[in-house]
Every structure is written in structure tokens, then in C-alpha cells.
């Protein structure tokens, strides 16, 4: 991590791979559901990336990383129980979700979408609001599936940050 703080990408890549290998089973034990633990792992890696300047090299790295992971796991559990409370008809079945008609965005979401980079906005609109799958959306605009997934992911991240700021 000290090397990563200095900008050493090779060391950072090695570190992140080791973190992913260590935290994956840990989060799986904490969270159980496959989708939950994969989401949480993503958030953990992102949190570690954003907080890397706060790591003190004179202290052990493992407790620092695991504490962040535990904190994110608790957040994930809280969010998933809130989401289940507001599920229409109490269903969490993804197959049922897929058959639901495209969603109309609220005024807040529309404003937040307008604030996004155009390519992220397009990706989020196609996949989340118009109901295209990642493959269909990627084919529609002529980019690869991986590129589309990356755009959706980044778009949702920016959207969450904007909406969280607005709600504060």
C-alpha cells in the first residue's frame, strides 16, 4: 500500500488482487447471498482506493482493510433490508423484476441524470430506464459489452453520489 500511495501501479495491482482474494470469502461468510457479497466487494475495493491516503504505513494493513470491509458489509446489509421493505408485493425475484415495464424517473433522478457525462447517461438510460440488457444496449450504440458495463457502473456511481448529496 505504501508503494501504491507513491503511485506504483504494479504493486497496487498485486495488492488489490490479494485483497480481492482475502475479502471475497470473508464477505461471503458475512453476507451469504452471492449478489450481495459481489456488490459489497466492489464497494470495498472502491473504498480502499478512495481512502488510500488515510492508511498509515506504521500500522498493520490487514486490520485497516478488514475494518473497511466490515463497515461496508454492514452498510450493504442495511441497504438490502431497506430495499426488501419497499419491494412491490414483497417480491425479490429477479425474473419478475425483468418483466416490469420501464421505470419513469422521478424529478430528482432526472436532474441527477442531466448532470451525468453524456456517455454514462446514455448507458444508464438504456439499461435502467428503457429496459435493455447490457448486450442489447452495447449492440445498439456499437460498443463492447465490457465497455457498456463499465459505463453503467460509473454512471450509477456518479448518480448515487449526486443523489446522496441532494438528500443531505
Amino acid at each position: 500500500m505504501t508503494a501504491a500511495q507513491a503511485g506504483d501501479r504494479e504493486s497496487y495491482q498485486r495488492l488489490l488482487c490479494e485483497i480481492e482474494a482475502a475479502l471475497g470469502p470473508y464477505l461471503r461468510r458475512l453476507l451469504g447471498a452471492r449478489e450481495l457479497h459481489e456488490d459489497c466487494l466492489q464497494e470495498c475495493l472502491l473504498a480502499i482506493h478512495n481512502a488510500r491516503h488515510t492508511y498509515d504505513a506504521s500500522r498493520p494493513f490487514k486490520p485497516w482493510a478488514y475494518t473497511l470491509a466490515r463497515y461496508k458489509a454492514i452498510d450493504t446489509i442495511r441497504r438490502s433490508s431497506t430495499r426488501r421493505r419497499y419491494e412491490p408485493d414483497g417480491t425479490c425475484d429477479p425474473a419478475e423484476k425483468a418483466s416490469v415495464a420501464p421505470v419513469e424517473p422521478s424529478l430528482d433522478t432526472t436532474r441527477a441524470l442531466d448532470g451525468l457525462d453524456p456517455k454514462y447517461r446514455e448507458a444508464v438510460l438504456l439499461t435502467k430506464l428503457e429496459g435493455y440488457t447490457v448486450e442489447e444496449a452495447a449492440a445498439k450504440i456499437g460498443i463492447t459489452r465490457a465497455a457498456m458495463r463499465s459505463r453503467v457502473h460509473r454512471g450509477l456511481r456518479h448518480l448515487r453520489a449526486q443523489l446522496a448529496q441532494h438528500l443531505r
Binding site: 505504501t2 501504491a4 500511495q5 507513491a6 503511485g7 501501479r9 497496487y12 495491482q13 488489490l16 488482487c17 480481492e20 471475497g24 449478489e35 459481489e38 456488490d39 466487494l41 466492489q42 475495493l45 472502491l46 473504498a47 482506493h49 481512502a51 488510500r52 491516503h53 488515510t54 492508511y55 498509515d56 504505513a57 506504521s58 500500522r59 498493520p60 490487514k62 486490520p63 485497516w64 482493510a65 478488514y66 475494518t67 473497511l68 463497515y71 439499461t127 447490457v134 465490457a146 458495463r149 463499465s150 453503467v152 457502473h153 450509477l156
Partner: protein, 216 residues
């Protein structure tokens, strides 16, 4: 759910990597904060009015008064370390320093209460009374508290409430200690006009935790 594979995300993060300046260690930040905040409070207090005449001699001549003052003087150090340690994920020292801080505060309160109920540590006197010592303690605490919160913001505070409480306690204790020396020494006055603002500010800073310290 659209989600990157771990390998994709790792590549993205590695591509996004830029050098960062690591934060300074807790010990160093605490030392800088204690020295800087104390200097500010002393200078401000001297600008607002003189210290009580003969106060420094009394510290040497009256061991109980010295003990009371020392107990309170250690509170900003231990409380500021606690606040910063609360902002270290996986840190193991916060609990120890929190316990030590509370023990010091309890010891000081017990000493002043003893002075009030049984025998004062100094002969009772209104000499050196500062007209607005309560408000001075409140106002002069704001800069040290602000600086402490700024130092915590730079870190990764998962327990924002505890970090804020101890930041408030640390920042308010500095003018309270100096008032102990600078102002009149009636124990009841010390409790109501010097100690009470410390409690108020610790609670007020806790109330601000959600607004001032970012949710991580």
C-alpha cells in the same frame, strides 16, 4: 445486475491510480494541535485580560491545586489522541485513550468537588475574576475544536460520533485549563463557569458530527 468483474474493477482502479500524500501520524498531529491550540488560547486570553496575579507561584506552592491543574491539562492530549484514533479504521488504541481521558476528567471533577465540599485547594478568593470567563471558554474553544474536526475529516472516521465528542472535549479543555490558572479559584465557580462549557461543547460537537464529518 450490471456489475464489473473483480478483474475489470481492479484494472479500472489501477488505471485510476495517482500518487497521494499519506496523512501524518496521530502522534505528530496531536503534538501540533496541542501546541498550536494552546498558543492560540493563551495569546487570546492575554489579549482579553491579564492572568490572575501570583497564579504561577500558587501552582508551585499548593500541590493539590497543581494536581487539579495537571489532571485537566492532560485531558486535551488524551482526548485529541482518542478523537484521531477513532478515525483510524482497525485502530486499537481509541478505547484505551478514551478510558484514560474519562478517568482524567473524573479525577479532576472529583478533586474539584472535594475542594468544594471539604477543603479548597487554594484559599477562596474573588481575586482575578474574569467577567466573561464562561463565554471566553466557549468562544476560545471554537478554534481548537474546528482544527481538531478538520484533522479528523482528512482521515477515515467510521465512528463519527465518538470522534466528534472527544474532539469537542479536547478543544474545550484547553481554555478550561488556562482559566483554572487565570481566573478566580472558587471551586463552585470552576465547576459552573469553566467545566460546564466543556460539557456543553463536547455535546454540541457531537451534535455536529453528522454535518461536519463525512459519512464514509
Amino acid at each position: 445486475m450490471n456489475r464489473l468483474t473483480p478483474a475489470e474493477q481492479i484494472q479500472e482502479l489501477v488505471d485510476d491510480l495517482t500518487p497521494v500524500t499519506p496523512i501524518a501520524r496521530v502522534g505528530r498531529v496531536t503534538a501540533q494541535w496541542v501546541v498550536g491550540s494552546s498558543a492560540f488560547v493563551v495569546i487570546a486570553m492575554l489579549a482579553l485580560g491579564p492572568l490572575r496575579e501570583g497564579c504561577l507561584g500558587e501552582l508551585i506552592a499548593h500541590p493539590r491545586f497543581l494536581t487539579e491543574t495537571l489532571l485537566m491539562a492532560l485531558v486535551p492530549i488524551f482526548a485529541s489522541v482518542t478523537a484521531l484514533e477513532c478515525a483510524v479504521p482497525g485502530g486499537t488504541k481509541a478505547r484505551f485513550f478514551a478510558g484514560a481521558t474519562l478517568a482524567l476528567v473524573a479525577g479532576w471533577c472529583a478533586a474539584v468537588t472535594y475542594s468544594y465540599l471539604v477543603e479548597p485547594s487554594l484559599p477562596l478568593s474573588m481575586a482575578g475574576k474574569r467577567e466573561y470567563c464562561f463565554y471566553e471558554t466557549l468562544v476560545l474553544s471554537l478554534v481548537p475544536i474546528g482544527l481538531a474536526l478538520a484533522a479528523i475529516r482528512r482521515r477515515f472516521a467510521l465512528d463519527r460520533l465518538r470522534a466528534a465528542v472527544f474532539a469537542g472535549l479536547a478543544g474545550a479543555a484547553i481554555p478550561a485549563v488556562i482559566m483554572q490558572i487565570a481566573c478566580m479559584v472558587t471551586p463552585s465557580h470552576v465547576l459552573t463557569h469553566h467545566a460546564f462549557p466543556v460539557l456543553l461543547l463536547a455535546l454540541a460537537t457531537a451534535g455536529l458530527a453528522g454535518a461536519v464529518l463525512p459519512r464514509r
